[in-house]
């Protein structure tokens, strides 16, 4: 199975990269763009045919390493 994982900063956590991109979009004339947040996207092949077991493993991967849950949220889909 392939896990498609998104890691994003929690709401309220300052995102300096997002702010810089927001300013760049603004100066390019995209006046309607706002609240830019930068996150990470990861793909992981999981050699586990059982969807429920793969789900448990991916959740552990996120909790232990892929996201720092003090400041980041994660979500994923399994395909």
């Amino acid at each position: 199975m392939k896990a498609k994982i998104h890691v994003t900063l929690k709401q309220g956590i300052l995102d300096p990269q997002g702010k810089a991109i927001e300013h760049a979009l603004d100066s390019l004339g995209f006046k309607n763009a706002g609240n830019v947040r930068v996150g990470k996207y990861m793909e992981v092949d999981v050699n586990e045919p059982d969807c429920a077991k793969a789900d448990v493993q991916v959740k552990q991967m996120c909790e232990k390493l892929l996201a720092n849950t003090v400041i980041e949220d994660y979500r994923y889909e399994l395909q």
Binding site: L14, P16, Q17, L65, L66, V70, I71
Partner: protein, 240 residues
Amino acid sequence: MKIGVVVFPGSNCDHDCQYIFQDVLGQYVEMIWHKETLLAGLDAVVLPGGFSYGDYLRTGAIARFSPVMGAVKAFASKGGLVIGICNGFQILLEAGLLPGVMLRNTSLNFICKDVYVKVENAATRFTNQCESGQVLKIPIAHADGNYYTDPVTLGGIKANAQVLFRYCTADGKVTPDANPNGSLDNIAGIMNADGNVLGMMPHPERSAESILGNEDGRLIFQSMLSSFGKPELQSRLIGV
């Protein structure tokens, strides 16, 4: 004293730390490759600065799973003295040995310059050779030094006098302008509740010898060494 300096792939201040403890302060230093799983006979452990594992994913996020970190945790839990400098601080945060996380500097720049920090608590194993309120000039060199934690944790470490260093002006005023990276409450260095683990973003090993024109950083290493002769400092929360 026998000091262990951990070497991760990508550490680049390891030899500076070795030099300070060995050549400037005359201690025995052992370099510890990150694959080691035992820390035998050491009095203190240094997690040096650098870019362990290329800072991939998050700073310190992968280094914290190096085999040696299990041994560092065991050493710290028995009261062993641990100092993490810059990337070492980031690793201690990811490993959960210190509370909080590092965010990208608000300027998004890698900042390499001398800064001033105020000693907030001089009754610790890392600051006993400083005066309370003393201003130290020590360089920083990082892109991710913007300390953050939740309000409850922040309140706890402040109430517990675990904040040892705060960015300040040359005359010791803790102001927003003196904050180089956006760090919460101008925090530059904190210790754990037991008082035996310190993380700090400034590099004292780069300012610990007169030939470098600045010796302020040496006070931190001298404090660590002298704390072994001060039993009152071994137990936590002296002077709080």
